[in-house]
Amino acid sequence: MDQLPPAIAVEELRKSFGELEAVRGVSFTVDTGEVFGFLGPNGAGKTTTINMLCTLARPTAGTARVAGHDVVGERDAVRRHIGLVFQDPTLDGYLTAEQNLRLHAGLYGVQRDLIEPRMRQVLEMVGLWERKDTVVATFSGGMRRRLEIARGFLHSPRVLFLDEPTIGLDPQTRSSIWRYIRELQEAENITIFMTTHYMDEAEFCDRIAIMDHGEIVALDAPESLKAQIGRDRVRIETGDDAAAIAALDEQWGVDAQVIDGAVSFQIEEGEAFVPQLFDRLGVAIRSVSVSRPTLDDVFMSFTGTTIRDAEESAASHRNRMAMRAMSGGRR
């Protein structure tokens, strides 16, 4: 198992569109079975990178190997070993869920006797087996996404690419989609490569790469990234806030403030700090909470934009897409 080549190996990958350098020499490897997330504001080059990895765009320079095959020289071999879930839906609404999957199985040359059991397996995993005879046009956005994910898994790919798999879905649906992705990934040891701009989703990844202006500005496990940038936030509710603030300054040199009715401060390894707090604060403590720096903080510190800005630009991007769809335009 551990002798497998990396699921994805990228070296100095570049892509230019005329004058515009969308991807400026990125390098990374993704191990088999890893869930790898690509984060970044819109226009950072995430989708361009994913398109190169799944052979939909030709790199201007650099190399990328996916499932052990070169994305330019062995395009077909790469395609056989990857599954794709695009940002925009690619289901045939006229067909039923089952017909969509059968079509996919046919295009990928899945052995006929395995289509039925495999289809059942992936549909059960995403909870759509009972709906297999329903025409896809009547599915909700979340159901379509689940069906697309099931389809992406159908031909047992080694690497599954998900481009913004939960964009435009409500939070509940998003978290259930994530559960399905995780379950499928664990059941089949498939490598997942995904892009997202939802910070909370990045937490599901084993490692994340933050991309900005076509370059990778940070790459590590979410926990390590958070550890790199900052300290935990501790909030305590006390009987005497003023005394607590004074004691914190005196005992540990910590600068605390009252925020939303609780004394709040930042410190390294906040959980380890809590016992000391009870020992030495000398003020009655009613409650304590320790929170890690969020990926929002990480994102901000590496890209200089808040995720809210990134989401707003994504929202306007979606609006543009919707308008283009209405006017019959094409991406």
Binding site: H81, Y94, Q99, H104, Q111, P117, Q121, S156, A187, E188
Partner: protein
């Protein structure tokens, strides 16, 4: 998971795999056609209007010039062609929809040749148009054309050929034209004049010179003419009427043989299919 994972294996490229891809794209067109009953009705309206309204109406004026042959019977072969043509156009348009709704992408990233996708699409569109043409074939009795087996088989084969060529043309155009409005606009701009010029509604001899030239350049002419000959071979009319109504297509006085006419339509279709494959293979 409750049961063990069923692993499937995606095989390398093979002729069988490509044939399977063609078959599956073809079958999808049929499934879609079956579920889209509205389309079956709407694409029939125009040919039926021509056949029964225009045919019955102009009949009042043309008794003498048609040598007693009902105008509906005369234009029936043309209607057989035009109904298939309109449907084939719609079939080809579905590739534009596929692009807009993203489904084209699902097919384009599959580990099969683009040519298999395009061929499946064209054959599927042609089959759908041919099926729809059967409705017009069924109307033969209403315009005094007999249901002779040789006639019906011949009509179906000619319809399939024409449907193939028109779908190939549409798919070729769809490789470049990415918006539905532009596509339908272009199709209307090309197909309607082709229909009027083709001689579907009139005999193609003794026309004004400019119209004769246009008629001989119109590919649809070479589908309508064999269709008309086929139908007229099976109805009982005077030699004078036959000569006036089914004069055949001539190039500088030379009568173009039916086989050559069919070959022209077929070669044109194959050429456009080739261009369509080339265009879709070249795109990312």
């Amino acid at each position: 998971m409750s049961t063990e994972v069923i692993r499937v294996h995606v095989p390398g490229r093979s002729a069988r795999g490509e044939l399977r891809a063609i078959a599956i794209v073809w079958r999808r067109e049929l499934i879609r056609f079956r579920s889209d009953r509205l389309r079956i009705v709407t694409t029939l309206v125009q040919p039926l209007l021509f056949l029964f309204v225009l045919g019955s109406g102009l009949q009042q004026l043309s008794q003498a010039s048609t040598h007693g042959v009902d105008l509906k019977t005369f234009i029936y072969p043309g209607i057989l062609c035009i109904s298939v043509m309109f449907t084939a156009m719609f079939s080809a348009a579905s590739i534009v929809w596929d692009r807009e709704f993203g489904f084209l992408r699902e097919m384009m990233v599959a580990p099969v040749r683009r040519s298999s996708i395009v061929i499946g699409k064209v054959l599927g569109g042609a089959t759908v148009a041919g099926l729809q043409g059967l409705i017009v074939v069924a109307l033969a009795g209403a315009v005094d054309v007999p249901y002779a087996p040789t006639l019906i088989v011949g009509i179906i084969l000619l319809q399939l050929l024409l449907a193939f060529t028109v779908t190939a043309f549409g798919v070729m155009a769809a490789a470049r034209i990415k918006q539905m409005q532009s596509f339908m606009g272009l199709m209307q701009m090309i197909v309607v004049p082709m229909f009027f010029i083709s001689g579907a509604l009139f005999p193609v001899q003794n026309l004004p010179a400019w119209l004769t030239v246009l008629n001989r350049l119109d590919p649809l002419t070479y589908a309508v003419d064999p269709m008309r000959r086929l139908v007229f071979d099976h109805i009982d009319i005077s030699a004078a009427a036959r000569a006036a109504l089914d004069p055949g297509v001539t190039w500088f006085g030379w009568r173009v043989p039916t086989a050559l006419e069919i070959a022209i339509v077929l070669l044109l279709g194959l050429a456009m299919l080739g261009i369509a494959i080339w265009e879709f293979s070249a795109s990312d």
